[in-house]
Symmetry: C2
Subunit: 476 residues, 2 copies
């Protein structure tokens, strides 16, 4: 008894997270009729269960840590945060998990929102099954952009469902701090959520399978963050896997591979992400359901002339800002191709997501903050570059010492010795979150070392580490 409506568009976007929104923004700006299909909240993971709520939880933690490092202010902030107030502020930043604002924005750009589950159903076609069971068939004259993102991956442990473990969603939207929280994982979600909930009143145990934290960054990032988490009261256990998890009378019981038993009120698994491509009809267009979608630098799926995959789903860089960058480029590329204009697909062209390869930035909002852009030393060496790593102890920078007593941090730049440009930069320390964009411009801009000498850091800021890095490069 379901009716089917057929609607033709220039572009159909699957997924209304920040990535889908930005694709639509660009195709609409080019005058292309655009449908956006979303089965959950418009605004996506980032707005409700990732960037926004996590940073809302972390910001007061970081500001408190900063204040504690300053005599004259520190005594006032020795007590715990007012968790209820922090959580209420978090609710504000997630709009109480309502998407009216973002729906209004989609309307304002003239995109059509179709609520429901969208599935590809053949070339240039998406079938949407609405919440009421009504089906609509959307056809796309020019492009379908898959922007469905990722979901958390849970490990394959027997009985895990009954434990009702947290993923990043529960960890960012919980209404109160659990008394005891076990966090499994050593990446960004794990370290950020361990930082937040420990400060909000939980006793956190962090179980990390590998040797260290944040292992996609330079090794000192994870080392400094682990040290600080431990000082904040988190029990950090590296080299530890989970053998079993059960819930007994409400209590979570974790047994590790070494036989240790840990009791907790909740357990968060931050153990990776999988693409949300398992139920979007990829089989109807000869692609493997559940796979990451490989794309070229215009974000078009390999071998297709109409299918794009933008954001997490293409596995190039699982970061909101990088997905938005891709979205701007994909939207522009779709529009250029639709109008028959030239596609500027050369490196750093308007239609090439070159930064995905060379200049992906990331800030981890722990205390200390860990921020990086481009390649780590190991990545640069592996890629076959002739490189030199230049390190500097951030604590020796005047601006860092002034920033807070007992400042600990470190900086590294990875220099391409052939071209004398930077391939990567990492800053770890309090107050470096806004500093990394200087490195992003240096790396993406391929600004030569000889010119960086003329980019004078203001005294006394933490930015003066740039001068110290250049001096260390010159003198050693």
């Amino acid at each position: 008894m379901t009716e089917t409506e057929n609607i033709a568009y220039d572009v159909v976007v699957l997924g209304a997270g920040p990535v889908g929104e930005n694709v639509a923004d660009r195709t609409r700006a080019a005058g292309l009729s655009t449908a956006v299909v979303e089965s959950e909240l418009v605004g996506g993971e980032c707005s409700y269960w990732a960037c926004m709520p996590s940073k809302a939880l972390l910001r007061p933690v970081i500001a408190q840590a900063d204040a504690r490092r300053l005599p004259g202010l520190s005594a006032a902030v020795q007590g715990p945060l007012d968790a209820a107030a922090v959580l209420a502020r978090r609710d504000y930043f997630t709009s109480d998990w309502k998407d009216d604002g973002q729906v209004g924005w989609l309307e304002s750009i003239g995109a059509d929102l179709h609520r429901g589950h969208g599935r590809l159903s053949g070339e240039r076609t998406v079938t949407v099954t609405g919440p009421d069971g009504v089906r609509k068939v959307l056809t796309a004259r020019h492009a379908v952009a898959v922007c469905t993102g990722t979901r958390a991956v849970l490990p394959d442990l027997p009985g895990l469902d009954e434990v009702k473990p947290w993923t990043s969603r529960e960890a960012t939207s919980a209404k109160a701090a659990p008394g005891r929280l076990v966090v499994v994982g050593g990446g960004v979600v794990a370290t950020e959520m361990a930082t937040a909930w420990q400060a909000l009143g939980s006793q956190v145990t962090l179980l990390v399978r590998g040797k260290g934290l944040l292992n996609r960054m330079e090794p000192f990032a994870g080392e400094l963050v682990a040290e600080a988490l431990t000082e904040a009261g988190v029990s950090v256990r590296t080299g530890t896997s989970v053998r079993s998890v059960t819930r007994e009378n409400g209590t979570v019981v974790v047994v590790t591979d070494t036989g240790d038993r840990i009791e907790a009120d909740e357990i968060l698994f931050a153990t990776g992400r999988a693409p949300r491509t398992d139920d979007i009809g990829l089989d109807t267009v000869d692609r493997e359901p559940g796979s990451w979608l490989e794309v070229d630098d215009s974000l078009r799926v390999t071998g297709s002339d109409w299918l794009y995959a933008v954001g997490d789903v293409n596995h190039r860089a699982l970061l909101t800002h990088q997905g938005k960058y891709q979205a701007r480029i994909a939207g522009a590329a779709i529009s250029a191709r639709a109008s028959g204009s030239a596609v500027q697909g050369d490196a750093w062209g308007a239609h090439a997501a070159t930064a995905d390869h060379d200049a992906v930035p990331q800030v981890v909002f722990t205390d200390p903050e860990a921020a990086s852009v481009g390649l780590s030393l190991a990545e640069a060496e592996q890629a076959g570059h002739r490189v030199r790593a230049v390190d500097y102890d951030l604590a020796s920078v005047s601006g860092a010492g002034l920033y807070g007593d007992g400042y600990r941090g470190r900086a590294r730049m990875v220099v391409d010795m052939e071209r004398e440009i930077l391939l990567g930069v990492t800053f770890v320390g309090p107050g470096v979150g806004e500093l990394i964009h200087s490195a992003t411009i240096a790396v993406a801009g391929q600004v030569p070392i000889s010119r960086l000498w003329h980019a004078v850091p203001s005294y006394p800021t933490i930015s003066e580490v740039w001068l110290r890095l250049l001096e260390a490069y010159r003198d050693n």
Copy 2:
């Protein structure tokens, strides 16, 4: 009965502030024998009476303001700062006004320190009169570098001596907060010291002759800072001059040009700087005592082949970091000329202080912070560039909203429409102090707008204002 010793050096540096230290560092690194002459503390104004103590005073003020904008933390920090603790920390950062550490550093690089008053006494010659009256004549085979900086200028008001007014020196080194403090001036020293002492317990009145504050920056910088100072309790009176100042029974009495009478415990004049060149023997080398020394881009005094003037004294940019930049370049140029190597004097070359013209950065450590680099819109227009100013309200950036409730701030980039590069950038708002270096690299690196699109700001940082500025440039 004074003895005279004659000592020959390759280079003689007059003044051991950060600028003199950096010149010596570079000439010593080149193997040139180097004398440094200092009549006060090694480390100079910056270490004892400017950058270091002022930032030590301001950092807790800023951290407190940040904390107050965060529910969950704000309640704890409503009370005043512990001024005694803040002042003690300031004393630590000035090494209690002792220079042993910096003397040790000069020794470590193998420069000879001559304490005493140094005066030029003819070509390539400096005569030092020591504290004991002993005179030494230092000759310089290659160069004399004048790095004597500036001193505060007091207005020509009758009886001012008896008032014992504060200058930047007393304002940064005072041992306690005066109950009532009048600050005269509207520049960096005035706004920073008004911010610091108001937070440390003084009732501050700021008297500004002109219409606004920070008038070398974009107009919105002074407007936002004035607004915040007022909210912090400072009485900001623009368009107001001082007609007379007296001290009556210990109380400072200021009468303004409008006839208002203001009583205070201390008065700070932050009304400009004059070069410390009045008593350094400039007459012996045919230069005007008390004048600013004009130099070329290698920092060599116009018309001389051996006399350099580096830092504030040449009036190019009265900022410690810019003086240090000049010092590195001057030291390298002196060394190159001494060894007969080629001087790389073209724009952005190793021996040209090109950034002095195009990319001088500055951070004002008020709350909000005000930071800029390069040309303001007015300066760019005056210089004859065809430009466009692009503005953005920082409060609309997610990362700024997360940074603190009630965030107020603004950003501007000035685009050179011929070359599509940036001539200047200004950020005003909490947390922008480390962000400005991104702009410094963009301006000094002359990174084209088309490439800046590939420098992706991390979400959700304040740095995302970069994306908003680019979008505003594209769409308007």
